[in-house]
């Protein structure tokens, strides 16, 4: 059994729209090992949700997907998810059974017309057992483990009868119900208030120790990252711009975008007179984007004539620390090689 669980290699998700092609995800690669917790950070609209939806093949049918997503099951050969039929039986077995997802909005993630129990046991009955009674038993047990009071009664309740925090707990129970190897949590606590956020994060941490699954956190909340994950990928405009472990993200960030993100965290002790730090400008819409680094228009360290012409590749510059920025000579060298290579190929 390999240690590797998921290898994402150069995936691109392009949406052909009337205004042009929207490059929501533009060539990202990463790997997740068993039991590992990874974070995917970035501002709204940077493509992080689209990236995980590509992994699950939940993107709109008109989206064009490129690249490989290799999933390594506990037994058997790796499966290339990008080659599967998005409605076929293989991907349906993976969804929920191998890779489960928790969504941002607990209010809208459940159907208001069906009971919580119906919606949780449905997943169990697809992946684990056909027996109705056994499925309810598993569901009750899970609801108990995520800290719901009266789990038997909750099974017959409708989503509108639960609070936001309770609904998100039910969502977590549903995602864990089939004991997935990988849990993708897409902004799991964004819609919750702060005290409930803390409870839910603690719960997820406990459950991870218990179930031993890998978790991929999608968030723009650096607090969640600091608390929950081991390795972090920072995304900007559909690309990963920095990849490192959580400590060096906060103490040794390399990319100007990452440093700006860290600086924008409000610090306790600062006088309220001081304005909050922010990154000037906004994330551009990735349609018909000019060449060069995506962060160039907002970057303080931009090198004129280089950053606005060539897109920096992601290059490892320290152990387990990769960055895509021309401030670092290693990146300039790598870009030179690849362009030289490209030039060589042209002849």
């Amino acid at each position: 059994m390999t240690d590797l669980l998921l290898r994402v290699k150069n995936i691109k998700t392009h949406l052909p729209l009337e205004e042009g092609v929207l490059k929501a995800v533009d060539g990202i690669s990463f790997t997740i090992r068993r039991g590992e917790t990874m974070g995917l950070v970035g501002e709204s609209g940077c493509g992080k949700s689209m990236a995980v939806n590509t992994i699950m093949r939940l993107v709109p049918s008109f989206a064009q997907i490129e690249g490989d997503v290799a999933y390594y099951p506990a037994d058997g050969d790796p499966i290339n998810i990008t080659e599967l039929d998005p409605y076929g039986p293989v991907i349906r077995d993976i969804r929920g059974g191998e890779i489960a997802m928790i969504f941002q909005e607990p209010m809208t993630s459940f159907s208001p017309l069906h009971t919580i129990g119906n919606q949780i046991t449905e997943a169990i009955r697809i992946h684990r057992t056909e027996d109705k009674k056994e499925a309810s038993k598993i569901a009750i047990d899970l609801l108990q483990r995520v800290g719901m009071s009266n789990p038997t009664q909750r099974l017959n309740e409708y989503p509108h009868q639960l609070s936001g925090g309770m609904r998100q707990r039910a969502m977590i129970a549903m995602a864990l119900s089939c004991e997935p190897s990988l849990l993708i949590a897409d902004e799991p606590t964004t819609a919750l208030d702060v005290t409930v956020q803390a409870q839910v994060l603690q719960l997820m941490r406990d459950l991870q120790t218990e179930f031993g699954m890998s978790i991929l956190y999608i968030t723009h909340d650096l607090g969640v990252i600091a608390r929950m994950v081991q390795v972090v990928a920072v995304m900007y405009l559909g690309k990963i711009v920095e990849f490192t472990d959580v400590d060096s993200l906060f103490y040794n960030a390399k990319h100007p975008y990452t440093t700006a993100l860290i600086q924008s965290i409000p610090k306790i002790g600062n006088k309220s007179r001081g304005r909050l730090e922010s990154i000037p400008g906004a994330v551009p819409v990735p349609i018909n984007r000019p060449p060069g680094c995506g962060f160039y228009p907002r970057c303080a360290a931009a090198i004129e004539g280089l950053c606005n012409r060539i897109d920096p590749p992601l290059v490892q510059i320290e152990e387990d620390h990769a960055v895509a920025c021309f401030v670092y000579p290693e990146v300039v060298d790598a870009a030179g090689e690849s362009t030289a290579e490209g030039a060589a190929h042209a002849f």
Binding site: A100, H114, Q119
Partner: protein, 331 residues
């Protein structure tokens, strides 16, 4: 729950009471009365009606009394004895006149509603799942034609086709031999064979409309997060579409079932005349033109009863379908 039922029944009573007053008032708004119309008709055919006779007739039918007295004179026996009064135009009691027609109206309407749903739900599902496909465009095109063509025109065309191709005598709901026969299984079967044409004609516009609404509703629901959640659980696409978005899309449609009935009744009057259907539509039209107050008011009241009951039933259906509404009403 019980208190909700009682409250609803009370509201229904109030609504019907107000409807009866309003319809009685509006029917009597045009100047003159049935007697005056009758006199005019006689004059047109050369007879001379003298003032004395007119006054005598007006008095005899109670038409010289103030409107509220006439109303009381009509409503009290109706409520206490179920007596709908006399029709001036037909010279006989109103109830036997409208009894069978009300029943046939209900049958035709129900059959039309069923036709509308049976045809439009699968088409809307197909169109929504295969949005912008050739099939979707085809059904949209057909639907718009159905919506835009006047019903009576479709009726005429269908009648010609039925006669030329199938040799079925068009028009009416019964073959001549059953027209005056008492109800029997054979008569019922005869009626069923006559139903398709009126049902298709009356239902076409509704079908076209419902396809558009349901298609838009479904497309809207497909985008919702709970559909993606269901898909992320590994559900089969066909199963999840029927279980989640279709059921959600049904809510606004179920809530409009009650109002379909008056729409079909008023919309089908012309069709009924063209097709010679023994429904209330043509009778109501004639009663209104002739200012046959009691007949017209009774028919309007009965149709209101059917509508109010229909709305109540669709509300109950909605409560059964949507736990949020059940919860709200239950408290």
């Amino acid at each position: 729950m019980l208190s909700y039922f009682i409250r609803r029944l009370l509201y229904m009573g109030i609504v019907l009471f107000l409807v009866s007053i309003l319809s009685f008032y509006i029917i009597n708004l045009p100047p003159g009365s049935w007697i005056h119309n009758y006199a005019l008709e006689l004059e047109a055919s050369g007879d001379i009606v003298d003032e004395e006779e007119l006054k005598f007739l007006l008095h005899r039918y109670g038409l010289d009394r103030p409107l509220h007295e006439q109303y009381v004179h009509w409503i009290i026996p109706l409520v206490t004895e179920g007596d709908f009064g006399q029709s001036f135009e037909w010279g006989q009691p109103v109830w036997p006149l409208i009894e069978e027609r009300l029943l046939l109206t209900m049958i035709v309407s129900l059959a039309s509603i069923i036709f509308v749903y049976v045809v439009s739900v699968p088409i809307a599902l197909y169109s929504a799942i295969n949005q912008y496909s050739i099939g979707d465009y085809f059904f949209s095109f057909m639907g718009l034609i159905g919506l835009a063509t006047p019903n009576f025109l479709i009726a005429l065309v269908l009648m010609i086709i039925m006669l030329r191709v199938f040799g079925v005598t068009p028009g009416g709901l019964f073959s001549p031999e059953y027209l005056r026969a008492p109800w029997s299984l054979a008569k019922f079967w005869d009626m069923l064979t006559h139903l398709p044409v009126p049902v298709v004609v009356i239902g076409t516009a509704g079908t076209a409309g419902l396809i558009r609404i349901l298609r838009a509703q479904l497309l809207d629901e497909f985008q919702k997060q709970y559909v993606i959640t269901a898909r992320a659980k590994g559900l089969r696409e066909r199963f999840l579409i029927i279980k989640y978005p279709l059921r959600m899309a049904f809510n606004p449609i179920v809530s409009s079932i009650g109002s379909l009935l008056p729409q079909i009744v008023s919309g089908s009057a012309i069709v009924s005349i063209v097709l010679g259907l023994p429904t209330t539509g043509p009778l109501l039209l004639r009663a209104l033109i002739a200012q046959d107050t009691y007949a017209a008011a009774s028919m309007l009241l009965m149709l209101s009863v059917l509508t109010v009951v229909g709305v109540f039933l669709s509300d109950l259906l909605l409560m059964w379908l949507d736990p949020r509404i059940r919860y709200e009403r239950g408290n």
